[in-house]
């Protein structure tokens, strides 16, 4: 009986050895940037409505646009500068220029082993010009990688 048990054990040992996992580096399939997710609303109707044209770039970075005459964009993803406590953007909606500035607190967030770290933010009430923008309201002040509305821009 004992020898039979030993044979079973040795067979199991060999089987388990085959199960030894091979370590291969993983890949990151998550969103790694925390954007301010801005949705556009018509001030007249109060309903969500994508502008006919949207151009967006950081103040002082007009050579590098985030959106350039983008059409039917229902939600704009606005990246914040993690190295400072505030940053501003030029926003051209339907050919009319406005600026919008954010101040925020920034903190580090570990996403996963494969994706590493990112920066999350908590924004204050933004400051903006009102050439075409009517009001900007905060829906959720925590800026994370989750797909959730942060601000509403009425124009």
């Amino acid at each position: 009986m004992s020898k039979k048990l030993l044979y079973i054990f040795l067979l199991a040992w060999a089987t388990v050895a085959l199960l030894l996992p091979s370590c291969t580096p993983g890949s990151c399939f998550e969103e790694t940037n925390a954007y301010v997710k801005a949705t556009f609303y018509l001030k007249s109707s109060g309903k969500a409505d994508a502008p006919d044209s949207l151009t967006l770039y950081g103040i002082g970075r007009d050579t590098s646009t985030i959106y350039s005459k983008s059409r039917n964009l229902s939600q704009a993803l606005i990246p914040l500068d993690a190295s400072t406590e505030g940053c501003g953007f030029v926003m051209k909606i339907n050919g009319v220029y406005d600026t919008i500035s954010f101040t925020y607190a920034t903190y580090l967030q570990m996403l996963s082993k494969d994706c590493g770290y990112t920066f999350y933010h908590t924004i204050d009430i933004p400051v903006y010009t009102t050439n075409i923008i009517d009001t900007v309201t905060i829906v959720k002040s925590s800026i994370t990688t989750l797909s959730e509305e942060n601000i509403r821009i009425y124009y």
Binding site: F9, P21, A82, L108, Q109, M110, S112, K113, Y117, T118
Partner: protein, 260 residues
């Protein structure tokens, strides 16, 4: 009255003549087997072996079990892990010691194991004391690249471990074996947003459960012998026997019938 005495005496006589009822419980045949209780001192061998192929993780681990009886043993384990990970946007280091305590259960029957084999499972509570740091991290977005680091932090981590496997004594007082473990993190002192990606003794931090496979060699020191009672298994009658018995009974009834 006389008839009642005759009835009682007859009843006693019948009861005595039936073997199953007449035997006292102490007279039921019981076997015993002598089992040596042992202290097992084990070293995990896959950790050092894997370190030669992957210098990013060193895991040194061992345990001591003390047999409480033929089924249960007290488990005390511990070890040390040194982990490093690096990819394009960050690097991470964690090192520290861990301790585990619990109970192991041998599911094999004593007469099968003879004190040499163990197949079963264990429930252990784990505690890890470690340091972790991120010497380098980089994040890129529209505004450019931000590089920073996280200084060394000391943390605790508590976890539960359920393990199962097999151990066999291949030479006198020398065993080899393997254990598969499932671990559940129950508490960590690290901040929620900066959870380490690796906890010594537990494994990767981002997972709800972690799995481990360990190979052990162990040296066993017998310290006591106990006698374990084994109930004999009831002998099952084969269908042929039953059929034969049945035909014999029929014959007897037939003869009785003829006799009557």
């Amino acid at each position: 009255m006389k008839r009642i005495y005759v009835y009682i005496i007859s009843l006693i006589a019948i009861l005595i003549s039936i073997p199953g009822i007449s035997q006292k419980s102490s007279e039921i045949p019981v076997d015993t087997v002598e089992i040596p209780l042992k202290i097992r001192s084990a070293l995990e061998i896959s950790g050092p072996v894997l370190y030669f192929t992957d210098k990013n993780i060193l895991n040194l681990e061992g345990f001591v079990t003390v047999d409480l009886d033929e089924k249960k043993s007290l488990y005390l384990g511990g070890g040390y892990s040194d982990y490093s990970y690096s990819q394009y946007n960050y690097s991470f280091l964690a090192k520290g010691s861990f301790y585990k305590a619990g109970v192991d259960f041998n599911l094999l029957r004593p007469e099968m194991t003879e004190g040499k084999y163990w197949a079963g499972g264990g429930l252990h509570y784990g505690l890890s004391r470690f340091t972790s740091e991120t010497p380098y991290l980089k994040h890129d977005n529209y505004w450019g690249s931000v590089s920073t680091s996280l200084t060394e932090q000391k943390n605790w981590c508590h976890f539960l471990e359920i393990s199962g496997g097999f151990k066999a004594e291949v030479f006198r007082n020398f065993s080899i074996g393997w254990l598969i473990s499932v671990r559940k993190l129950i508490y960590t002192g690290a901040a929620k947003e900066l959870r380490p990606i690796f906890y010594p003794g537990y494994g990767e931090g981002g997972k709800t459960l972690t799995f481990g496979l360990n190979y052990y060699i162990s040296f066993n020191i017998p310290f006591k012998k106990i006698k374990v009672f084994i109930m004999p298994e009831p002998v099952e009658e084969s269908e042929e026997d039953e059929e034969n018995q049945g035909s014999n009974n029929n014959t007897q009834i037939g003869r009785q019938g003829i006799g009557n």
